[in-house]
């Protein structure tokens, strides 16, 4: 096997593309039942090859396997190949995308069964997977960018899948354009990096970021470049200030929400920053910004989720909030935590979305949880899987979310950039080759500057958010599945458990939500068992990718033996989660009046939250109406000023012509006068010269 020409990577990407083309071009003519089969088969094959590649990567012991498909754009010194790479980071991503993607395709076969546009749906889904695979397997930033835009376009098409509803078409358009705003910054960030490094290749950039001389040059643009790229990520991964499209994107079919707007596409920003960790950690300032934005988003979205009554809207805001966690992790330099949470989140959030889809399917399209209730009797499988995922997202001990969330919170509490340590002079060598003396001692460190404070704020907000998350998830769960059914009789008579093609993915995902986190135990627990490899498997697997960052740049401010602090942090976050669950239990099961009274008591707060802080309206006013207004002014300017200015020049010519035309009247006497005048003038002229 040639590690530099590993063409299986090409197959992983190509197969969904072929599936999409078959369904897209011939779908309307093929028998109806073929579309889901073609779509799912493509994903199954792709998943198979992904497994094979990861296996090959594992057995080869190579750092990465690469494959150059062909030369794409070459101009001057810039050469961009369509090239793919699988390393330990993209291995995890590719398994999530093709694995979870396959389950969701399977689910869609049941969910979209009655839709006449089923073939189109599967075609779009396949195209989406193709673009997503480009994004994660790309060996350079441009291939990633092709995927980045491609997933945006597919998301646009899928959100607006039922385009005859103007609201849905609008939501799709909004998603695309808000993402474009992010892409604007992203492209500029790319240019800055390219300007400095002369390459778009991840491997070369990582190499430059980790060797002293080139890191020095890169350091100059790192803050600007990382923040610009991060703004791009706030678009794709729905962070403040560009998160507004994601809740609206729930207009799409539910499997789309699960696949694109929970498990895969929205996490691509996290993936990208983890991929560029070498550059990110060059700039403590950028890290502080990322951590703060992530923390604010996590908290802010969680508060909105507290009061929403649309089952998918709650999940949407929850997704925004959880993505905020991932950005906290990136910001505080816990890249393993970010990817770990990305993975576990893909499991439980996909399960939650698919579960909500199952509920909506059974409720005949109803999404208001105020009209649900008591569904556990009718839909046992959906209920159990939903419950497991709710526990997982709330950080209940031993479930997937517990491990990943604790890793992030612990990172926020303990991590510090080496430049923020007191007594360390900022020197490039401390970022690339040497461990600074105060860190080497292994003792607890004192920090300076605002960045460590930002990390602590991120921890505090993260902790509060953990409680809020547990509360609103269980509010959702209790209102949907417990108590009495609140809908009409008609709907009640149709309640049913979903078909096997829909429940099977639920069961698999719930299983993953149960055990998916067992590769990343907290260190204080694994210490008791003398650190067996599997208990920290996730960390070990990703270690080569984040090597420089972990070794030289991110330090633990509690020193190297921090088991006590870690235990306390974990304990607190578990307690907060349990408190949230119990609060929801009391407020929505034991005594539903509590919720009502709180709502009345804090009417203003409730209304503000229901209105989502009116951010959408604000943006509409400022940016949408604003640019239309500017456009109108520009148009008026164009018609009356620019055009007339040129016409004026024309008219001057015309009027000169008109004056001259009067001279040529055809009147002989007049001509004679002209001649005489001319002669006289000539004589005067000559005379004046002579004198």
């Amino acid at each position: 096997m040639n590690i530099n020409d590993f063409n299986t990577l090409g197959l992983i990407v190509l197969i969904p593309l072929i599936g999409g083309i078959i369904n897209g071009v011939f779908g309307s003519k093929l028998p109806k039942s073929w579309a889901p089969k073609i779509g799912s088969a493509a994903l199954a094959l792709s998943f198979f090859f992904a497994l094979q590649s990861v296996h090959a990567l594992y057995t080869s012991k190579a750092e990465r396997l690469t494959y150059v498909a062909y030369k794409w754009i070459y101009a001057g010194s810039m050469g961009i190949d369509i090239a793919f790479m699988i390393d330990h980071l993209s291995a995890i991503m590719v398994l999530i995308v093709t694995g979870v993607g396959f389950l969701i395709h399977l689910y869609s076969a049941g969910y979209m069964h009655d839709d006449p546009g089923e073939w189109k749906f599967f075609s779009y889904l396949n195209f989406f997977i193709f673009a997503m695979l480009l994004l994660i397997l790309g060996k350079n930033m441009i291939v990633t960018f092709i995927g980045w835009e491609g997933v945006g376009a597919c998301s646009y098409l899928l959100i607006g899948f039922w385009f005859t509803d103007d609201e849905k078409a609008k939501a799709g358009q909004k998603a695309f354009i808000v993402n474009r705003v992010g892409d604007f910054a992203f492209i500029l960030g790319l240019f800055l990096l390219f300007w400095e490094t002369g390459t778009f290749d991840y491997v070369e950039i990582a190499h430059m970021a980790s060797s002293t001389t080139s890191a020095l040059a890169l350091h100059g643009v790192a803050t600007a470049a990382v923040i610009l790229i991060f703004i791009g990520c706030t678009g794709k991964s729905a962070q403040i200030p560009l998160y507004t499209w994601l809740p609206d994107a729930m207009a799409g079919p539910t499997p789309v929400s699960a696949l694109i707007h929970a498990a895969t596409m929205v996490t691509s920003g996290v993936y990208l920053l983890a991929r560029l960790n070498g550059v990110v950690t060059l700039s403590p300032v950028a890290m502080g910004v990322i951590a703060l934005v992530g923390a604010c988003t996590a908290f802010f979205a969680a508060t909105i989720a507290l009061v929403q009554t649309d089952i998918k809207k709650v999940l949407a805001y929850s997704t925004v909030s959880q993505l905020g966690y991932m950005f906290i992790a990136i910001g505080v330099g816990s890249f393993t935590g970010a990817i770990f949470h990305l993975m576990t989140h893909a499991f439980f959030k996909a399960c939650l979305f698919l579960g909500s889809g199952s509920v909506i399917h059974s409720m005949g399209g109803e999404q208001e949880i105020t009209k649900m209730g008591g569904l556990r009797k009718f839909m046992p499988i959906t209920h159990i899987t939903f419950a497991i995922s709710c526990l997982a997202i709330s950080g209940f001990p031993l479930l997937a979310g517990f491990f990943s969330k604790d890793l992030i919170l612990w990172g926020a509490l303990s991590n510090t950039h080496v430049f923020a340590v007191e007594g360390v002079t900022p020197k490039m060598i401390f970022l690339t080759e040497m461990v600074a003396a105060p860190v080497q001692s292994g003792a607890a460190l004192t920090t300076q500057g605002w960045v460590p404070i930002a990390f602590i704020i991120a921890f505090a907000l993260g902790l509060i958010t953990a409680g809020l998350t547990a509360f609103y998830m269980f509010r959702l769960y209790f209102m949907t599945f417990w108590g009495e059914f609140r809908g009409d009789e008609e709907t009640k008579s149709h309640l049913h458990e979903s078909p096997i093609s829909m429940t099977l993915p639920l069961v698999v995902l719930a299983g993953l939500a149960l055990i998916g986190g067992w590769g990343g135990w907290p260190h204080f627990i694994s210490h008791w068992f003398h650190d067996p490899h599997w208990m920290l498997g996730f960390e070990h697997w990703l270690a080569p990718v984040f090597e420089t960052s972990d070794k030289f740049r991110i330090v633990n401010r509690f020193g190297s033996h921090a088991a006590t602090q870690e235990t306390i942090a974990t304990g607190v976050s578990v307690l907060v989660g349990l408190a949230g669950i119990s609060a929801a239990y009391f407020a929505y099961v034991v005594n539903p009046n509590i919720a009502r009274r709180v709502k009345q008591r804090f009417g203003t707060v409730h209304r503000t939250l229901m209105a989502k802080y009116k951010v959408d309206e604000f943006y509409d006013f400022l940016f949408v109406s604003g640019s239309i207004l500017v456009g109108k002014i520009a148009y008026v300017f164009d018609q009356f000023v620019v055009d007339n200015a040129v016409n004026f020049v024309g008219r001057v010519g015309e009027s000169i012509g008109r004056v001259l035309r009067n001279l040529q009247s055809g009147n002989v006497q007049r001509y004679a006068t002209y001649i005489i005048l001319a002669v006289v003038l000539c004589l005067i002229a000559i005379g004046s010269v002579n004198v």
Partner: protein
């Protein structure tokens, strides 16, 4: 027939070979001639014959493509031409030659022309019912004019073809256009004419200059390129050329003829106008204006880039508020061509390649957009956005194709629009050409052997390389603002698409719209496939342009530095200038010397004169 061809070949190409360029250029002309013999009433024959002629032309142009050798050795000068035919003296006394040739810059534009023409003709089958004969003849004449302008490398010949394309287009708009067609046609004509006349004057000036310097009258491009011009002359002549081309492109603020012309022009006219005719402006810049007057271009560069950037954002904003689909697309053209000009003027390999690629991609994608508008117009006889809504429901196939073309135009990676815009933006961001790194100095300059005091923009001022950091940052700002246009493009195009195609079917008139018929599918499919192919395999196109572009860039660089050497101040003159105006020198250094260390790893494209100073310092 074959005898005559071989006779022709023997005259044109003494070394043997097939005169592909002559055949391609004059085949449409012969076709137009043939059409005049067909009775006027047989419109079916006219259409089919014109289509067959344009298809044969397209097939012949493949001969050019196949015989073009991208690996051919490069010669001295700005361009290395291939498939040279002639030069055969045409008007000997005036030095006008029949000389056709092609290089990587014009190759793809020729192919684009022959590619779009059959599509445009096919689109007229149901749109034009009256005066079909004249229409077809005009289209074929237009094609001949465009092809001729692209392949001629005698400047006078170029000018003739340039004017030849003007008249058919004028008639196409004025006779076959919409309600306001006469006004639109006149405006189109006057604008273009003013530019052309200025260009003609400039051409003649250079022509006489050639005679003064070499003693020979010649309009051949290589002769005109080798002429020596003083900086002042360059500025004026370059201005005249650039104005002519800027009107044609059109560059803000000379663009107001375009929306009017597009709205009034029939579909085929719009397709050709946007697809090829506008590119004549950008092509002319690369082929004539830039290499003839390199120093003047260097001085104009920041201003041209500013206009281009304003045009990008401004036209995009204006496009957003249009209520007429065609006008929206017309303004989008202005915006997109702003990227093109920006890329070209950046003088970097990426920027040039990007500008060239935008010409092709925009031709295909915007041609496609106009075809789509035409299809809608034929069904509903209106182009107002408000008259549509929910059309995707009744026309699903059309919706899919329209969507792909829209995405191509938005610049979605994987489709053709992205490649050009990306290259142009990368090139701009790295450019060092968009900056006056030479100050305006009142100094003694050697102009044609005469020493004269005056204000001069020179590249000779000995500034050290640190100052170029300012140039790089300026370029980055240009790129940033231009990138804004990418957001707006998504905004206005997708918004238009949503209002036309998505949403509920509110109006009864839209409920029973017929989806594409066979003929429409036949002419839209090549556009869609080309959008995809150009997006997925751009190197197929770029690879054949690259040697020519690199040579051109190298020429621009050497030419600029040669002329620098010519007007270089001597040490004494410099001291004198400093003594005369010490304040100016001092402030310039102080203001323009930021403490920024430039660490750009790759210096390519147009590299500022700092080199010259370095060499001096090395001594």
């Amino acid at each position: 027939m074959f005898n005559s061809i071989s006779l022709l070949a023997a005259t044109l190409m003494p070394s043997g070979g097939v005169p592909w360029l002559t055949m391609v250029t004059f085949f449409p002309l012969l076709g137009a001639l043939a059409l005049t013999f067909v009775p006027k009433l047989q419109s079916g024959v006219h259409r089919n014959l014109a289509l067959v002629i344009s298809l044969i032309t397209a097939a012949l142009s493949l001969g050019i493509l196949l015989n073009f050798d991208a690996t051919a050795p490069l010669t001295e000068g700005a361009f290395t031409f291939q498939l040279q035919e002639g030069p055969v003296p045409w008007v000997k006394s005036l030095g006008i030659h029949y000389s056709l040739a092609i290089d990587g810059i014009s190759l793809w534009l020729v192919i684009l022309t022959t590619f779009l023409m059959p599509i445009a003709i096919l689109s007229t089958y149901s749109a034009v019912k009256k005066n079909v004969k004249e229409y077809m003849i005009l289209l074929l004449l237009l094609e001949a004019g465009m092809l001729g302008a692209l392949v001629s490398n005698d400047v006078f010949l170029f000018y003739i073809f340039w004017e030849v394309m003007l008249i058919p287009m004028y008639l196409i708009i004025g006779v076959f256009g919409g309600e306001d067609r006469v006004k639109a046609a006149v405006k189109f004509f006057i604008y273009t004419m003013v530019g052309s006349l200025l260009m003609l004057i400039a051409i003649l000036y250079v022509y006489f200059k050639v005679h003064t310097q070499t003693g020979v009258y010649s309009f051949l491009l290589q002769d005109m390129l080798s002429v020596q011009l003083s900086p002042t002359e360059q500025l004026w002549l370059c201005g005249a050329f650039l104005l002519a081309f800027a009107i044609k492109v059109p560059l803000f603020p000379f663009h107001t003829w375009l929306p009017l012309a597009h709205v009034q022009a029939p579909t085929a006219g719009s397709v050709i106008l946007a697809g090829v005719l506008l590119k004549m402006g950008t092509y002319g810049m690369v082929r004539f204006a830039f290499p003839m007057f390199p120093n003047a271009v260097k001085i104009f560069a920041p201003f041209i880039a500013t206009l281009a950037v304003i045009g990008i954002v401004y036209a995009a904003l204006v496009a957003m508020v249009q209520d007429d689909v065609k006008k929206l697309v017309a303004y989008s053209s202005v915006s997109h061509l702003g990227f093109c000009v920006l890329g070209l003027i950046a003088m970097t390999p990426q920027g040039l390649a990007g500008g060239m690629y935008i010409m092709l991609a925009h031709g295909v994608a915007t041609g496609g957009l106009f075809l789509c508008v035409g299809i809608l117009y034929e069904r509903r006889h209106t182009k107002k956005i408000a008259a549509f809504g929910g059309v995707a429901k009744s026309m699903p196939v059309f919706a899919a194709m329209f969507m792909i073309i829209i995405f191509a135009s938005v610049g979605l990676p994987g489709l053709n629009g992205f490649v050009g815009e990306f290259l142009a933006l990368v090139g701009t961001a790295k450019s060092q050409f968009l900056w006056h790194d030479a100050p305006i100095v009142f100094s003694l300059v050697d102009v044609d052997g005469v020493q004269a005091w005056g204000f001069h923009m020179t590249d000779t001022f000995p500034l050290d390389t640190k100052i170029q950091a300012g140039g790089e940052f300026t370029a980055y700002i240009f790129a940033s603002i231009a990138t804004l246009g990418v957001i707006f493009a998504a905004g206005y195009l997708l918004w238009m698409y949503r209002r036309v195609m998505f949403g509920p079917l509110k109006l009864d008139a839209n409920k029973n719209l017929k989806d594409l018929n066979g003929r429409e599918i036949v002419y839209l499919t090549p556009i869609v496939l080309m959008c995809i192919f150009m997006g997925v395999f751009p190197q197929f196109f770029l690879g054949r342009m690259e040697p020519s572009l690199n040579q051109f860039l190298g020429y621009m660089q050497s030419k600029t530095q040669n002329s620098i050497a010519k007007i270089q101040l001597t040490e004494e003159e410099l001291t004198a200038a400093k003594d005369a105006n010490p304040e100016h020198f001092k402030t310039y250094r102080e203001v323009r010397m930021p403490n920024v260390v430039v660490a750009s790893p790759v210096k390519e494209g147009w590299v500022p004169k700092g080199k010259l100073v370095d060499q001096k310092g090395d001594k």
